[in-house]
């Protein structure tokens, strides 16, 4: 019997009830971003359950320790304000854990009562609770606005706001990767180094959320962008923001306030988006693209052409976050696959326009919804099935019920490994996406082929 047995085929319009969301709330995004600062303890200014939930979700996804603290609001704090809790927390955190930075994000609770982080930070500094050389960073992340993507973006913007321009430009380029895996962040750094561009990547969770097992626990692992680097990002020659939803706000702030010009690009998933990324990188830095990059690109094109027959015409349903979905849709269309259903829980009409634009003049009709949910997407699939699902682990219930292969991609992935270590950005990442899709599609073909049609070579 089906697991999601109560999901009817007929779509009933819902105005108030979200079922099986394709998003979560702002603070977890802020926590993930803050983990990409070296020596940073993320702090959740709210009830302790928020922090426990975010830590658990991130830990289940990365299979790594996720340290973060909380203001542990009680009813009293909720009535009188949480400033006393936060002041006490700041003192305790610097005394016991000694991080370089505390990155505080708010919650629906502290936002509803109107706590002002900057005011509390000032008080903490005046009261001598912030040791010399340590940094306090804050981001307002009300859970009732936007989604986890918004929270990520807000914390990244707060990181950019640490910039202290000296007026003397450096040769560095800021790259804001958006909410991608630690492995993706490492791959972006590798590609930039290969092209020969000196970048500051922020946030950078590589080396933080994919750290080795050494027999020694480091509460603050070696990875992460340093405060020194963040302060210097106001002197950079430019900023590349990867993803309108995740990264653009920070880049535009640096542009407006520090005169660091910015370009907002799609996340470099797939051939075309990676091409644009590399092209902009070499243009801003004024360097030729080395052969090694062309070599990697050629390998990706090779595999696309080798296996095109298996991608051609395959119908795909995908859900997740806007920036990822935009690049993935473009990649699928470039393979002649058909992203027929695209859903994000994150609001934004421009997302729908962008997806429709990517799919225009294609031999299929795309159904796209921002502020949608997985219940609706499942109903679409029930009405007209697809060949492949691409999304987070929650899709496994649909995959099993409808007998459709699932490519786990996005957040959270709770039941499979590898995403922390093997990138899906760039040309190499494109190869991995192709490999994973082919494995699923061809395993399915092998399973479903008749005895007569079963083949050794594919």
């Amino acid at each position: 019997m089906a697991l999601l047995r109560h999901t009817p085929v007929e779509v009933m319009e819902r105005k108030a009830l979200t079922i099986n969301p394709a998003k979560t709330c702002q603070p977890i995004g802020a926590m993930y971003a803050a983990l990409g600062i070296h020596g940073c303890l993320p702090h959740s200014h709210g009830s302790q359950g928020c922090c426990a939930y975010h830590r658990s979700a991130l830990t289940r996804h990365y299979k790594e320790p996720v340290s973060a603290s909380t203001s542990s609001f009680t009813e009293g704090a909720s009535v009188f304000g949480g400033h006393a809790n936060l002041l006490q927390a700041i003192n305790n955190i610097f005394t016991v854990y000694d991080p370089e930075v505390i990155a505080v994000h708010t919650t629906c609770l502290s936002e509803t009562i109107g706590d002002d982080l900057n005011q509390i930070f000032d008080k903490a500094r005046k009261e001598g609770k912030v040791p010399e050389g340590k940094t306090l960073l804050g981001a307002a992340t009300p859970s009732y606005v936007g989604s986890h993507v918004t929270g990520f973006s807000n914390m990244v913007k707060s990181m950019a706001m640490l910039a202290e321009p000296t007026g003397k430009k450096t040769h560095k380029v800021n790259v804001i990767p958006g909410w991608v895996e630690p492995s993706d962040m490492a791959e972006i750094k590798r590609l930039a180094a290969l092209v020969g561009v000196d970048i500051t990547l922020f946030p950078d969770t590589s080396g933080v959320l994919n750290a080795p097992l050494t027999g020694e626990y480091k509460m603050f692992p070696d990875g992460g962008v340093t405060i020194k680097e963040l302060k210097a990002c106001g002197d950079a020659m430019g900023t590349l923001a990867l993803g309108e939803w995740c990264s653009a706000d920070a880049a535009r702030w640096l542009d407006a306030k520090c005169k660091v010009p910015c370009t907002v690009l799609d996340m470099p998933f797939g051939l075309a988006a990676t091409d644009r990324f590399i092209d902009v990188l070499r243009t801003v830095a004024g360097v030729p693209v080395p052969d090694a990059v062309d070599y990697e690109r050629g390998q990706l094109v090779d595999m696309i052409s080798d296996m095109h027959q298996y991608f051609y015409g395959k119908r795909v349903a995908l859900w997740g976050d806007p920036d990822q979905l935009i690049s993935m849709c473009e990649f699928l269309v470039s393979l002649d696959m058909q992203p027929v259903y695209v859903v994000t829980g994150t609001p934004g009409k421009s997302f729908e326009r962008r997806i429709k634009d990517i799919c225009k003049d294609q031999p299929f009709e795309v159904k796209v919804k921002a502020k949608g949910d997985m219940f609706l997407m499942h109903q679409w699939i029930k009405n007209e099935p697809v060949d492949l699902l691409i999304g987070n682990t929650y899709g496994k219930y649909i995959a099993r019920d409808e007998d459709i292969p699932l490519l786990r991609w996005g957040f959270p992935i709770l039941d499979r490994q590898g995403h922390q270590y093997f990138p899906t950005v760039g040309y190499k990442g494109g190869l991995r996406l192709l490999e994973k899709m082919l494995d699923l599609l061809l395993d399915r073909k092998d399973r479903d082929s008749s005895e007569q049609a079963f083949e050794l070579v594919l």
Binding site: P21, G49, T59
Partner: protein, 545 residues
Amino acid sequence: MAKTKKLVQLKPTDIKEELLAKYPPKVARKRAKQIMINEATGSGTAPEIMANVRTIPGIITMRGCTYAGCKGVIMGPTRDIVNITHGPIGCGFYSWLTRRNQTDPGPDGDNYMPYCFSTDMQDQDIIFGGEKKLAAAIQEAYDLLHPKGICVFATCPVGLIGDDIHAVSKKMKEKFGDCNVFAFSCEGYKGVSQSAGHHIANNQVFTHLVGESDKEEEGEFKVNLLGEYNIGGDAFEIDRIFHKCGITCLSTFSGNSSYDQFARAHHADLNLVMCHRSINYVADMMETKYGIPWFKVNFISANSTAKSLRKIGQYFGDPALIDRIEAVIAEEMPAVEAALAEHKPRTEGKTAMLFVGGSRAHHYQDLFGELGMKTLSAGYEFAHRDDYEGRQVIPDLVPDADSRNIEEIEVTADPKLYSPRKTEAEIKALEDSGFEFKDYEGMNTQMDEGSIVIDDLNQYEAEKLVELYKPDIFCAGIKEKYSIQKCGVPMKQLHSYDYGGPYAGFKGAINFYAEIDRLVNSKVWSYTKSPWQKSPELIGTFVWE
């Protein structure tokens, strides 16, 4: 680290001092009262431990919130009730399928557990109030699914903006007529831990569900199992054993539960309390209202399972039942003993630490005991003093600002349904023979003298304990798992069982023995050092030898 055992015997007082050394004075004073060197064994009165108090802001706690305790823990496993989270999307999202409550939807097939329902409150709902959206969401859930029940859970902002979720639920219940709608004021900021949420949930289940069904229930020996959440299928294993013994479990609170099971629970003749922390008050209320006696059981470990079964037999006093129970134990134990014979030689003398929940840190010590392993240190995440020291301290517990805002419901004997299951004389006869009702002696009495009991353990203290004691295994939850393992010490999750189990009953014990043997004897922890780290001296040779 796993390889280099500390040989020096550490004094518990030194350990305690070490744990407190780095804290600011105010924090150290408070934590000192929550860290207790156990003296319970053989020395009469145990020292007091401070528990169920606020977590200190900034100190990285294991605890979650009231919503997590209410919606996540207690109501999470209710398969045929549509649980709607009223709030921004996060709370509903994080409590969606993340606890491993297994369920058997049975012939009716109703199972909403794979679904997440939320009102996904937006800023305009926070500003103008979310009652209309909530009513509309309840209506939509009803129109789509026509469930027997719809429950509504408040998240933090709901309490602040003053949405009257109870009034909305009542109105919708009256409107539908065939769907029980009720709500839980389980805002995350209430109380000091999940425990408050358990209480809020149980109060509402008791008020709105228990006693709803007047249909007489069949079964000679009818019991309810309270405080068993069917993680990894534990309740299935317990049900299997009950079935073999001829014991009818009318209702499990709340693992593998259904609406109708709660509704009929008052027909049972005995309440068995598994997790004392989360539910002992429900047993008390059911005794007062319906006359159902209760006692504490433990189905974690083979011997504890046998002991609990025998006590059930003794309670009913039926020779046939007692014989059947003995026959079942005799039938089940050989497999347990065979498993022990295989694993115990490899686990004997190893050491463990357990920091979890409100009862598991105690129950699982029985399993480690069967494996010949010593518990060096243990504590609960959200328990109260009685769970450490025993129920005799309950009258001394003073309500504070945090516990006072959790509703206590006044219960009196039901004029129609109250009927004492045993006469006073029968109760007295049982008690005279050493039988204890409403019993729980707490965790401390079972622990060795000098072992360290710590309430609301935090990340810093966990790290210190591992560093100082180097236990062979550490048990806690997902948030603690990987920091412990980075130290090279295996970590077993006792919330989720690391996606294994069941560990209850006889078969569960066998599963657990094998799992612990795997963990404490695994070679994977020896891989942390490379050959060149083990012998870093460089001896230069320029030719292959």
